[in-house]
Subunit: 591 residues, 2 copies
């Protein structure tokens, strides 16, 4: 059973991401290192003791739709109520609406724990958080007054409605219509798919944020507006009014996250009995809906990265526990006559260390990104821009690398369990199933990589990434001067990887300047992995230097010697892979 790694998370936030120094500089006001520990400790207790025990029933029972109503798994409704009552939903919400306004770092750290414990449960609040952010930044005061406090408390939940059958990655292709009613409201008509927690029994009301087109909107992404569409209309006194014309017409049968209802939502079919059309209110400006969504997109992408890392953590814990329990065969380093626990076998150790290293590498990247997001808000002047751009740079890494790691680590976790890994009762298989969605939703990992090379590398005339690389170089230098014997050649290997990263980065920036789109697109995914592996390994080094523990240094050395070698190959793929890709791809295209 999952136990929240509270100390590891706190350590990563404080000493790898940089929170400790920022706290000491007073950048986060009253927040102290002890308070961080206290919050994480309480969250860890809730995740381990309250959520984790209900993960399996969620997977086995799933969410069910009957007569337009969704029943979440047994016990989950009460779990959500306890979770809200403990105040967890309000952790990072705006103070004006009852939130605690704690830094994103803490929101993400608690999300790690909810998702490790049960990703299908943690997913719902993640979307509410996105809705809060979008409304807080873009909604009118009237709408905020009506909706925000109850979203912040968790009394109501929020959803995000983007995807339509013909509009997935290409959101510009969406067709849902929003017609002005003449009274400042709109009537929405259309179908949305893959809507997470689109219908549920956790909350009395559901606040849908919906992308739709006005009648005269231009085609493509410039003609998309954002609307608030509540499940129940809200009277001026705050009581619930009549049912709005938005309904769940079906749930998807999915590979994983069974406890999370994935809904097809129908807007404006007249099911509510009144005049057809779901009543909605505009958020932000007309035709600027995508920009409104983008303000929350960074957080949502980071949050999905956190999910990937959270599943990797859960899979690593499970595999490690099993490997220390299960006895098979003899092992050289195991004294005694009987069978050794399989953790003594080098091949099993290699799997476990790979899992552990990748998880911590992803954690370092995710929390460095969260730290940058917070710094962008708390520091003043030009430095704020520096941190905002850092967050922009790290977001695709956090999302794509961590979710790939989630899949890889969950797969290794099944392998460590041997035959038992394939049996559902161990839970290793459930993690392997759940993990698979994270590289897909909130922008596929391919789209993250394209975002990285076409939008993030050019940031600040290319200086944003170079400033980041300089920071990584400094970490490698610090690792060398720390003279920690257990680091072995890690600093040298890191230096070498950083040279490859620099070369690949300059190459792509040159291609960008030359407008060579094909090479950028072909090299995007290898480049994202190359930068992430190197950054992740640098964070392992920073952790080893920070506390000079033998175990951290040994893990960093393991990663440098066993995982960083891929970087040179990735550089080659970035620089020389596009030609062969284009040539070979011709055979793929059906006539």
């Amino acid at each position: 059973m999952y136990r929240a790694p509270v100390e590891e998370i706190a350590f990563t936030l404080k000493h790898v991401a940089g929170l400790e120094e920022a706290l000491e500089a007073g950048l986060f006001g009253d927040l102290t290192s002890d308070l961080v520990d206290a919050v994480l400790g309480e969250a860890g207790r809730f995740a381990s003791e309250e959520i984790a025990p209900l993960a399996r029933v969620g997977d086995e029972h799933g969410a069910l739709l009957k007569d337009g109503k969704v029943a979440t798994p047994p016990g989950w409704k009460e779990l959500y109520r306890r979770w809200v009552e403990a105040g967890w939903n309000a952790l990072s919400g705006p103070e004006a609406y009852g939130g605690q306004a704690l830094p994103t770092q803490l929101a993400m750290a608690t999300q790690e724990m909810w998702n490790s414990a049960a990703m299908a449960f943690g997913l719902g609040p993640m979307l509410t958080m996105g809705a809060i952010e979008a409304l807080d930044k873009h909604a009118t005061e009237d709408l905020k007054a009506k909706y925000l406090a109850r979203l912040v408390s968790g009394e109501w939940m929020g959803t995000m409605n983007l995807t339509e059958p013909q509009a997935g990655s290409d959101v510009g292709a969406l067709r849902t219509r929003a017609e002005p009613a003449g009274d400042g409201t709109y009537r929405l008509f259309g179908q949305k798919i893959f809507i997470t927690y689109g219908e549920q029994d956790f909350s009395d009301n559901i606040v849908h944020l919906v992308l739709a087109r006005l009648p005269d909107a231009p085609a493509g992404t410039r003609g998309i507006s954002l609307f608030l569409v509540p499940k129940f209309l809200v009277n001026d006194d705050g009581s619930l009014g009549r049912r709005n014309d938005v309904f769940c017409s079906g749930l998807e049968r999915k590979l994983g996250i069974h406890g999370s209802p994935t809904c097809t939502m129908i807007y404006g079919d007249g099911f509510a009995g009144a005049e057809p059309g779901a009543i909605g209110w505009l958020i932000g400006e007309e035709n600027k809906g995508l920009a409104c969504m983008f303000t929350m997109m960074n957080n949502a992408r980071l949050a999905v990265g956190i999910q990937g890392m959270a599943l990797a953590e859960a899979a690593t814990q499970k595999a490690l526990a099993y490997a220390n329990e299960r006895r098979q065969g003899k092992a050289a380093d195991h004294a005694g006559g009987g069978m050794a626990a399989i953790v003594h076998h080098p091949d099993v150790q290699r799997n476990l260390l790979t899992m552990k290293a990748l998880t911590q590498m992803a954690r370092g990247i995710c929390y460095a990104c969260a730290f940058a997001l917070d710094m962008g808000r708390v520091v003043r002047g030009g430095e704020a821009g520096y941190w905002r751009e850092r967050a922009n740079l790290l977001t695709p890494l956090a999302k794509a690398f961590s979710t790939d790691v989630g899949v890889e680590v969950a797969s290794l976790g099944v392998q460590v369990h041997g035959g038992m890994g394939f049996i559902e009762e161990t839970g290793a298989a459930a993690l392997y199933r759940d993990a698979r969605i994270a590289p897909i939703y909130e922008g596929t990992n391919g789209i993250q990589a394209i975002d990285l090379v076409t939008r993030k590398l050019p940031l600040g005339n290319g200086e944003v990434v170079h400033a980041y690389l300089d920071e990584l170089v400094a970490i490698a230098a610090a690792a060398r001067t720390a003279e920690i014997a257990e680091l072995g050649e890690a600093a040298d290997l890191l230096d070498r990887a950083l040279e490859d990263v620099s070369e690949a980065t300059r190459f792509l920036q040159d291609r960008f300047a030359a407008g060579d789109q094909q090479v950028l697109l072909a090299g995007a995914t290898p480049y994202l992995r190359l930068l992430s592996l190197t950054a992740g390994c640098a964070y392992l080094a920073r952790a080893a230097v920070a506390d000079r523990s033998e175990a951290r240094a040994a893990l960093c050395r393991f990663a440098a010697e066993n995982l960083l070698g891929e970087v040179a190959a990735l550089k080659q793929r970035v620089i020389a892979g596009a030609g062969s890709l284009a040539a070979a791809a011709r055979a793929l295209i059906a006539e």
Copy 2:
């Protein structure tokens, strides 16, 4: 829906594995190239038209246990009957018992197709084939006369009973007892788990091959004997007698291959009503049971490798079809104003080409191994030993690399489908689930790697692997002299990879000579992948040279430039990875 790639399989067998030349040399008697095509064509038709349409019902319905009886998925019993009536089970069986005695290559090629179409279905006959082989080689003439013909025809099916709760990878720990009854028969008592098709409704009788211990047997693997235990005893006239004391007490709830019943089997609990004890007959000598199992192990391991590759093929086909259908976004190389099929996006192309290349690389290795197995039987004198050792060398590559590829490619297949990949109805997720068992069963991939470095590299004083590497070097040379422009630098890249393979091989052979077990065990898995990637890429080159097609050359170049780069990193892991592994592993072990 799956379409058997009959021409690709025939091409790989004939021009990559080497069958064409052997046929021309008359090594396979009456077998002609046309007959190979005819057999594969018919098998392809059966797989595509009869098996594939029933894959989904197998996954969704699964096998069910009720009152000790197993019901396979709707339609599967009739499917099995049609498959047997078409003679497919008898393809490679011994002629003396009604088999067609066709080469293993054809048996494996047809298994590829059955497993691509529905792995859970293909798995049953795979085990029958293993039972036939074990009985043909080790059983008495009486037992053969009673059982073999009906196993060869497929009227009865066979099973393999090795695993017990405490004895998985460490088969020597098994406890099932076999007591001599004094009349030449034995009574078996014990529990076996994970028994594939241990109970089913396909066949009237089931022939269980069971590993058990005699009362006075030495501990460990030297005290294991093999027994034949039929579900129904067989009278001297061939009619079925009374029910034997072996029963299925439960089915596992598994991640994938739901149509295949995975049974817990209870021997000797008295459920049959008569005196407790399952009646069994000794196969081979007392305490030599493991050796008997090993004679069929090579084939079974190759067959599981075929499964991994077969799933990769199925996943590639599915993803490619989807990518040509699904339209999202604009693409540079796609004319016209609307959205382009996603196959036009370079990032999608990279995924699809990686899938295609890995699948063909695994296919090359698997059929090269099958070819070597056949050559070991048909050639005379010392050359037979040469081929047998080649097969021994390639077996762990075929098993482990191909099954890892199965998981990787199935995962990429889900990714190419985007959100639809996570929805069960597309079938991409089912392949991802099914694929996950193949790296585990029939010896985990870790065990395959250990077998490779501790038993196969030392074969023939190390000469077996070097002879193989020489062959790969010759392939690279042929690729260079072929002067195929589309190969680009592939020959050079292959040469460089082969140098790394040589260096890693010599390093491990030296460590073997020095008795440095820890380094061998730590480097085993990276070495297996390094050798497999290089061999696989060499087979792509051989294919390109053989038919000088632009598409094959471009695929080889893609693999050389995009997948072979990993080899240098793997070499480093083999040579320098053990120290950091041992150091970091200390933190894994619970006190």
